[in-house]
Amino acid sequence: MIEIENISKSFDDKQVLDNISGRFEQGRTNLIIGASGTGKTVLLKCIVGLIQPDEGNVYYNGRDFTHADRDMKTEIRREIGMLFQGGALFDSKNVEENVMFPLNILTDMSASDKLDRVNFCLARVGLENVNKKMPSEISGGMKKRVGIARAIVNNSQYLFCDEPNSGLDPQTAIMIDNLISEITKEYNITTVVVTHDMNSVMEIGEYVMFLHKGIKIWEGSNENISNAEAKELQDFIFANKLMRTAQTK
């Protein structure tokens, strides 16, 4: 479980996050949603420690991450897997080497065990016979799946996904969403997904936190999001014509 407590962050004079608190439970797909530029990715980076918040704390199963010393931070980070928006695969390494990378650096496993684990993870995300392909030779959806395989290869306890289905066609996007949800349940991990895609919210949003201009406006589940009264959230959900029509009906 991850708890965030009064997280605030400013860049120069611009307040990007204002006193955000929340709890991301284990075994549940937690979503941070909001329009572009509302601070979703900044919040995610504060949680994983890529950005130091001005105020507030992040707790990983009760361990204070924000104020932890270097060794404790490293220990917690080695339990984290992250899928970046563009995949962030290492250009100079092929698919197999990319997925094997955390095992090479962080474990003492034998070469054959590592290869077995890589093949297992690639099969789990539906990728087989692509081991030797370079990142430049695979599609956007495949890159995301390789990114997920790399994030889970080291038995991560926490999975973070930054816009996992941006730039993907609707079918592939839903497939990636479902894969994230399945992996969360299968390995009983804590998953936090940043997205602005309402399809993702309706598909996998067991806990949803809505941000607007750096402020947490609403939290709940996808089952009651459409009944939420907050105007900013209503505007966000029903921004497209299809959703407006569905609501009217």
Binding site: V48, L50, R70, E75, I80, F84, A88, F101, N104, L106
Partner: protein, 242 residues
């Protein structure tokens, strides 16, 4: 001043939270091929022509009958060993390797590959930069030794083929009053230059912000700053050691 302070903090960060020794050995080997072995061709071309041109231009300037022809050999030796091989090749090295280090790290930064390393609990600066600096410090002196040989050989080829001087005169000239300290001085310079080129370029690339345009700017800035640092260090070392 802020930038210089940040540069030294960056250098300090290379030595904390390091990975296993085995990891670095493999990375240093890979980087040595990329930075050193892959630079042999350009270094060989530049240094051979540098020696040849030095010989021909020295002959053109030495018109007095009081000056023996073998002095051309001595001039080529002293100019290449003391200055041209370590310093001019450093400028070439900064152009080739410095821009490559900077643009490579800059691209990794803007495509979140460096963030990916950090999230895994890996000290990205140490993992990515330290092997480059060590490889550069190890390989650049070897390139300078090669450049010294090829420059002197280039002078020999140009001098003898154009009948400026005979083989014997050239060989007598390059052996005349040889001071071994000049080699030591050139190698000290090459270690310093190798460190400056790789660390400055890595610093510029590592802290790139923005997109493709900024990667290009960082790369240009890396080469420019490396060249200035090389020339400054060249002067300081000459004042201190000669």
């Amino acid at each position: 001043m802020k930038s210089i302070g940040k540069y030294f903090i960056f250098l300090g960060s290379l030595f904390v939270n390091r990975e296993s020794f085995k990891t670095y050995v493999r990375l240093i080997f890979d980087e040595s091929i990329l930075l050193g072995v892959n630079s042999i061709f350009i270094v060989a071309i530049v240094s051979t022509f540098m020696g040849a041109v030095t010989a021909v231009q020295s002959a053109y300037n030495l018109v007095s009958p009081l000056i023996e022809d073998y002095i051309i050999g001595t001039l080529v030796r002293d100019m290449t060993v003391l200055e041209l091989a370590p310093t001019v090749i450093a400028i070439v090295f900064a152009g080739k390797v410095g821009s490559s280090i900077s643009s490579g790290l800059g691209t990794m930064r803007i495509t979140e590959q460096i963030d990916a390393l950090e999230v895994m609990g890996i000290n990205s600066a140490s993992y990515l930069v330290l092997p480059k600096i060590i490889s550069s410090v190890l390989m650049y002196p070897l390139l300078v030794i090669l450049a010294m040989f090829l420059s002197i050989y280039g002078g020999y080829i140009a001098g003898t083929l154009t009948n400026i001087l005979t083989e014997q005169e050239y060989i007598y000239g390059i052996r005349l009053d040889f001071n071994p300290f000049t080699i030591k001085f050139a190698l000290i310079k090459s270690v310093v230059f190798g460190f400056l080129i790789s660390s400055i370029s890595a610093y510029k690339g590592f802290f790139t912000k923005g997109g493709a345009l900024e990667v290009g700017i960082a790369s240009t800035s890396a080469v420019t700053n490396s060249c200035i640092a090389i020339l400054l260090a060249d002067y300081l070392l000459a004042e201190l050691l000669l």
